[in-house]
Amino acid sequence: MPTDTLTQPPTAVAPTTQGLHERALRNLGRTGRWRPAEFVFWALAAATFFFLPDQHLLLGEIAILGLFALSLDLILGYAGIVSLGHGVFFGVGAYVAGLISIHMTGEPITGLLLGGVAAAILGLATAPLLLLRASDLTRLMVTLGIAMLFYEAANKAAWLTGGADGLQGIWIDPIFGRFDFDLMGTTSYAYALVVTFLLFLVARRIVTSPFGLSLAAIRDNPMRANTIGIPVGKRLVAIYTISALYAGIAGALLAQTTMFVSLDVLAFHRSADVLLVLVLGGVGYLYGGLIGAIVFKLLQDTLSTLTPQYWMFWLGLILVVIVLIGRERITGAPATLWNRVRGMGK
């Protein structure tokens, strides 16, 4: 990083601004470069489509949950906003996508985009509330309050949302008029995976851009970020809106692939679950949400076959243990191990 010029003894010739500029660009480029492990990850994801045809339903759920967790990572991992109500964007996206398919058109891409946009508008509208002398507690309560508000609203507005019975009669046309949604979930999985991948690429570009780096600065020290000229409020509103868009698209994907929306999409446990997913995978490196979704769904699958009614207990236990051991130590373990192995080789 360019900061090492500061540690040089004063006798050293100061690099010209031109040199500094180039070095900064090079360092920025390095954070954005693709690592081999990332290619492997996506190659494996694509391979699951061909080699695990029986698991497409589960895999589709994983892709959607991964996208949802990714959206939370954008605000929590990169901007340090703690939210207990992220599920509201997921739910709004799901309901809007469902309503569009019933009242307007069954064309999936339209529903997907409009679901995302609706959530983004809500995000943009509620983001200023997060900036109020922002303490973590106020943020938690405001996000939680908004989520509960929408849950109650969807519950009461039965004429629009179907209330507790859920939104029925959703029908989604084939994608591009060619790929029909089948019962095995094959089309759904391909659809969800492609959407998640494309949005991941965009998110990756966002967080490695100067905009993304300024978010990290805000996360680490808002006051200092403000003094070096970063418009803290605007940046937080922007990333919150983007994150809401992502969550809305994830919700729309769920509505379209299951062709059903119930109140459950707005329930508190959605917001808590997605937090857990992200923590399982690790906060602040984009893959955390995706890996967390895989771990979470597999855990849920095994635990709920072992103890159908009480799998939440084991989930709670895992959370408690993770926190007591320390999140950094768990997610950092592979890296530490790798460094140690490399160190022994030298």
Binding site: L132, D136, L140, M141, G145, M148, E152, L275, M312, R327
Partner: protein, 284 residues
């Protein structure tokens, strides 16, 4: 009209007793403990089980409804919570949500998912006339008991040696420790008393709020609202907040039932927009 007001006040007072422990751990010690409702549930179950399985009279179960959660709270504080005071808020949220999940399913497993019902003693049932207004006896009983608790707590916090030690420990741990105050012991005691009060609130609230395994999740939001709206300076703020929420909720459900719980969340968001630090903010 006045009956609704009195019902609302009783409800609010109950909320305050339930949330007072949280007002100290969250408000003063700045620890986000979403599992507070689990201790309240423990108290409620102690009372319900003692009454229904062993026929212990209602009033006699209340001390146990205080003691059992208090001991559980002290144990949990020493073994688990004490390690997390210095951790990030995210860690605290995750940890306490984990505890809630465990408490909910464990209770479901042990006692079943049905509502726990209790039979109140005869002298607490029915209504009586107070200057021509019909008042539920149990509501009046709640108001009296909770008022005594509120005044007692306020006196302990502001007038006793323990209270001033606690306030010192909360304001500046290092200096307090330097003055020879046993900060760890004080925090443990406070946490235990807070959990005990939650348990007592849970027991008193069986009749009004109900008691079932999902209790900690269902009422978590209410407790948090009381504390965040109330502000983090002492117990007066949360007390006023609890009364506002109590009266607002009862009146809202009576006059505009179609809006329901909507009103409470809206009220909270509006108050937090106007006063982000809560009703009574710390003077700085």
């Amino acid at each position: 009209m006045l009956t609704i007001l009195i019902d609302g006040i009783a409800y609010g007072m109950l909320l305050f007793v339930l949330a007072s422990g949280l007002a100290v751990t969250l408000g003063l010690m700045n620890f986000i403990n979403l599992a507070h409702g689990a201790f309240a549930m423990a108290g409620g179950y102690v009372t319900a089980l003692l009454m229904n399985r062993w026929g212990v009279p209602f009033l006699a179960t209340l001390p146990f409804a205080f003691l059992v959660p208090a001991l559980a709270g002290a144990f949990a504080e020493r073994t688990l919570y004490a390690r997390l005071y210095r951790r990030s808020h995210l860690d605290q949220v995750l940890f306490s949500i984990g505890l809630v999940f465990m408490a909910v399913t464990a209770t479901d497993y042990l006692f079943g998912s049905q509502q726990q019902l209790v039979q109140l003693p005869g002298w607490l049932q029915g209504r009586f006339d107070l200057f021509g207004i019909p008042v539920g006896r149990y509501r009046a009983f709640l108001i009296v008991v909770c008022s005594v608790l509120v005044i007692g707590l306020q006196l302990i916090l502001n007038r006793t040696r323990f209270g001033s030690q606690l306030r010192a420990a909360v304001d500046d741990q290092r200096v307090a420790r330097g003055l020879g105050i046993g900060v760890a012991g004080i925090f443990a005691t406070t946490f235990a008393v807070g959990s005990g009060l939650a348990g007592l609130g849970g027991a008193l609230g069986i009749e009004i709020l109900g008691m079932e395994p999902t209790f900690p999740l269902k009422f978590m939001v209410y407790f948090l609202i009381v504390v965040t709206i109330g502000g983090t300076t002492g117990l007066i703020g949360p007390f006023i907040a609890a009364l506002i929420i109590g009266v607002g909720d009862v009146a809202g459900k009576y006059y505009v039932p179609e809006v329901g719980a909507f009103l409470i969340y809206l009220l909270m968001i509006v108050i937090l927009i106007l006063r982000p630090q809560g009703l009574i903010a710390r003077a700085r």
